[in-house]
């Protein structure tokens, strides 16, 4: 089956948005939205379904195998990774593609996610001493280190907004890792900032629960981070 990629475009952050449709013929069963976008941009002349010449579609990618978070975008209403979104898994021929809505648009599907990294800095997320990692917490530290900072969890969060006081789920994995590796009484600054910027603003909607493209158990990390930072309880597993 041929697909129509219906892309919400904006050539600059302050320009007007418009939609443009492109026809894509898959080559293999494994073709993803990332494959399709690459192919469109490799065309000698890119034209939309009306035959109107079009500028290449700006988007970001890097690993092409779900490991770096670069290619997050909204596909048929759901934030996900373009390199993991296989065309054959879409039932409709026309696929709606939009940039993540929570972040400022740079161009087309590229958004500026620098706030994710700024927030981690504001939260003082680093080890202030040598890590102490007993075997029983290794699995938790491992899972907490898997976050790729793609921003999908923030996209669906009813409470997160860029430059808001609440930093959202994407700050939780790093917090969990660090608290797992430091005695709680030596991580007072992290705990305090976490309570202010994460715990306090989280409405526990758990909208982020099933959205993580890495399959991170966000609820588990959240429960652990809360236990350690707010309730000063022992770490879970």
């Amino acid at each position: 089956m041929n697909y129509i990629l219906n892309i919400l475009r904006r050539r600059r952050g302050d320009a007007k948005s418009y939609r443009q449709r492109f026809l894509y013929e898959p080559v293999t069963e494994g073709d993803t939205i990332a494959t399709a976008l690459t192919e469109l941009n490799n065309r000698e002349v890119l034209a939309d379904t009306d035959g109107t010449p079009a500028e290449p579609v700006e988007w970001e990618c890097s690993c092409l195998q779900k490991k770096c978070g670069a290619c997050a975008m909204v596909i048929n209403g759901r934030p996900q990774l373009a390199c993991a979104a296989r065309l054959i898994d879409f039932s409709r021929q026309e696929i709606m593609i939009e940039p993540l809505r929570k972040f400022p648009v740079v161009c087309d599907l590229v958004v500026d996610r620098s706030i994710l990294f700024e927030n981690l800095k504001t939260l003082h997320l680093w080890l202030s001493r040598e890590a102490e990692l007993p075997d029983r917490y290794r699995e938790l530290a491992y899972q907490a280190s898997e976050c790729i900072q793609c921003g999908c969890c923030l996209e669906v969060c009813p409470n997160f907004c860029v430059n808001g006081r609440f930093f959202g789920m994407s700050s939780v994995p790093v917090t969990t890792r660090l608290l797992t590796e430091m005695p709680v009484n030596e991580a007072k600054e992290i705990a305090k900032l976490y309570a202010r910027h994460t715990f306090a603003g989280c409405g526990k909607s758990l909208a982020c629960k099933d959205i993580c493209p890495k399959g991170i158990d966000t609820e588990k990390l959240l429960v652990n981070a809360n236990a350690m930072a707010v309730w000063k309880r022992r770490k879970g597993k």
């Binding site: 490799n42 690993c63 490991k67 990294f117 280190s145």
Partner: protein, 529 residues
């Protein structure tokens, strides 16, 4: 701009982060420039592990043996002094990573090591099969500490577009903010940590699309010498997925995976039969060549298969759960139940910017580290040595750079740089792959050089594509000049290794021409000669 000594680092993977952290700990600030944030660098893809003779598995491993295996695996084309430094420092590097909280597989605080190719003893520290991601997460957190102190200044989404060299001394580097489209010029010393040359073989490598190789091409045309460009590692166990090759980590064989092919209707475990000692864990160049040979035998059918069905439940749950999930997701095969078809794919570039043991390039004040540089791995890199080389090399480069580091400035400049065009990249890739497959010979190489010359004369190339094409030509000419087979460079017309070629292939630009020469393996601490 403060009065602080500053070094510019281009590339924020393992090598760049290691350099930035080393500088920060010495009180020297850095501008950490990268086309995307660290979280998206190729280093997060590294899977199987990092080598260090920690000797935690009761096998009496030593740094001497790590040194010997690395030299032998690299077919004696590496600097002994450099490899000595790498292997001596490996245990402390891995211990430091553990102290930064990398959740390596461990038991009662003892780091567990696994077998990896080309090494008889268990030496590879790992965090399941996501070691690169785990190390990167810890180093990113560590770097953040210094970002908050103003010692590391990040410039993500910034791409290198020009290196200015006067009288063989680096003057400045110019980068473009790909978000605002504005240009910045950085004066002062610079360390290139821009990763491997994946972009020269688009869609054919296991690495990231971000490592376009354009930074290397810019450095080459600015006057930096390159070394051993003909050595391109084909990893034996890769599979084709949409848009790239996906790696099946060597960890799969390290944990007991076996390669076979159907011969006269029966599985033939050819590696185990031919190499009883290391079997499936021979160095990658050997395994890839053997696979290519058996596939073309008339008595064999189908592709080579990687059989992981014999691995224990513990291995699957504790060590390779992530690899299994990946194979199931992209190949629709459960490797616990069925063997998977694999074939060699481009995975690593041993060649790169030529550096001495202090990681100085041939251009004064310009340094290089990580996969961008040619150091440690000779004609064939051992699995697990690359992350080590990137971290150690980043450190060494930083320590060298800080000796001469001075106050630096950042200025907005008016510049305009064109991007590489897809049609030019595709042409270059087609020509290069016609000459630089796993098995090379003179005629296809000569033809490929002629094709590139035609492309260079065609007048269709913009400046960056021209630089890329010249570096591509240097790769082909290096392969043509090395009239022997060694490690990852196999010539069907020169099938033997020759002592005359136990030298470094050096490629440089002179008066607009690519010139290749051979030099003694550089053991010096001064500029590479």
């Amino acid at each position: 701009m403060s009065d602080m000594k500053t070094v510019n680092i281009i590339g924020a993977g393992l090598a760049g982060l290691s350099a930035a952290i080393t500088l920060a700990r010495a009180g020297v600030s850095s501008n950490l420039i990268s086309s995307q944030p660290s979280e998206r660098a190729q280093s997060v893809l590294a899977e199987g592990g990092i080598n260090a003779s920690l000797n935690t598995m009761g096998e009496h491993d030593t740094t001497t043996e790590h040194f010997a295996d690395t030299m032998k695996g690299g077919c004696f084309l590496s600097s002994e002094r450099a490899v000595g430094g790498l292997t001596e420092n490996a245990p402390s590097i891995v211990k430091e990573l553990a102290a930064l909280g990398v959740p390596f597989n461990a038991q009662n605080g003892r780091l567990l090591l696994r077998n990896f190719g080309g090494q008889k003893k268990k030496r590879t520290a790992h965090a399941k099969s996501s070691t690169g991601k785990m190390i990167m997460s810890a180093l990113i957190d560590e770097a953040r500490k210094y970002e908050a102190q103003g010692l590391i200044r990040r410039f993500p989404n910034h791409e290198l577009i020009c290196i200015d060299v006067h009288d063989n001394v680096l003057a400045n580097v110019t980068v473009r903010d790909n978000y605002s489209r504005k240009y910045l010029r950085f004066t002062g010393a610079a360390i290139l940590c821009t990763g491997g040359l994946n972009g020269f073989f688009e869609g054919m490598t296991t690495g990231t699309t971000q490592n376009t190789g354009s930074a290397a091409a810019i450095a080459f045309c600015a006057g930096a010498e390159f070394a051993n460009l003909e050595f391109i590692q084909y990893h034996p166990t890769t599979v084709s997925i949409s848009g790239k090759r996906m790696l099946i980590s060597e960890a799969a064989r390290g944990e007991g995976g076996r390669l076979f092919i159907m011969r006269n209707g029966k599985p033939w475990y050819f590696m185990e039969e031919k190499y009883p000692e290391l079997g499936n864990l021979m160095p990658r160049d050997v395994v890839s060549r053997e696979m290519t040979a058996v596939v073309s035998m008339p008595e064999c059918t189908g592709s080579v298969m990687l059989d992981l069905t014999g691995l224990s439940a513990d291995v699957w749950s504790g060590k390779l759960s992530d690899l299994r999930a990946e194979i199931m997701s992209y190949m629709n095969i459960d490797p616990k139940l069925s063997p998977i078809p694999v074939s060699p794919g481009i995975h690593y570039f041993m060649g790169g910017i030529r550096v001495n043991i202090r990681h100085e390039t041939s251009v004064k004040n310009l340094y290089a580290a990580g996969e961008a540089a040619c150091q440690y791995h000779g004609a064939n890199r051992l699995g697990g040595n690359s992350m080590l080389g990137a971290i150690y090399g980043g450190k060494v480069a930083a320590l060298s750079a800080l000796e001469t580091a001075a106050k630096a400035s950042i200025d907005s400049v008016n510049a305009k740089a064109e991007s590489s065009l897809p049609k030019n990249r595709t042409k270059l890739c087609c020509i290069l792959s016609s000459g630089l497959g796993m098995i090379r010979s003179e005629q296809p190489l000569i033809k490929a050089v002629a094709d590139l010359d035609e492309l260079l004369k065609s007048g269709t190339l913009n400046e960056i594509d021209r630089s890329r094409t010249l570096l591509g030509k240097a790769m082909l000419l290096s392969a043509l000049a090395r009239k022997e087979s060694r490690g990852a460079h196999t010539r069907s017309d020169y099938p033997h290794t020759s002592a005359d070629f136990q030298k470094t292939t050096v490629a440089g630009m002179h008066n607009g021409e690519v010139i290749i020469r051979f030099a003694a393996i550089d053991e010096s601490e001064g500029s590479p000669k």
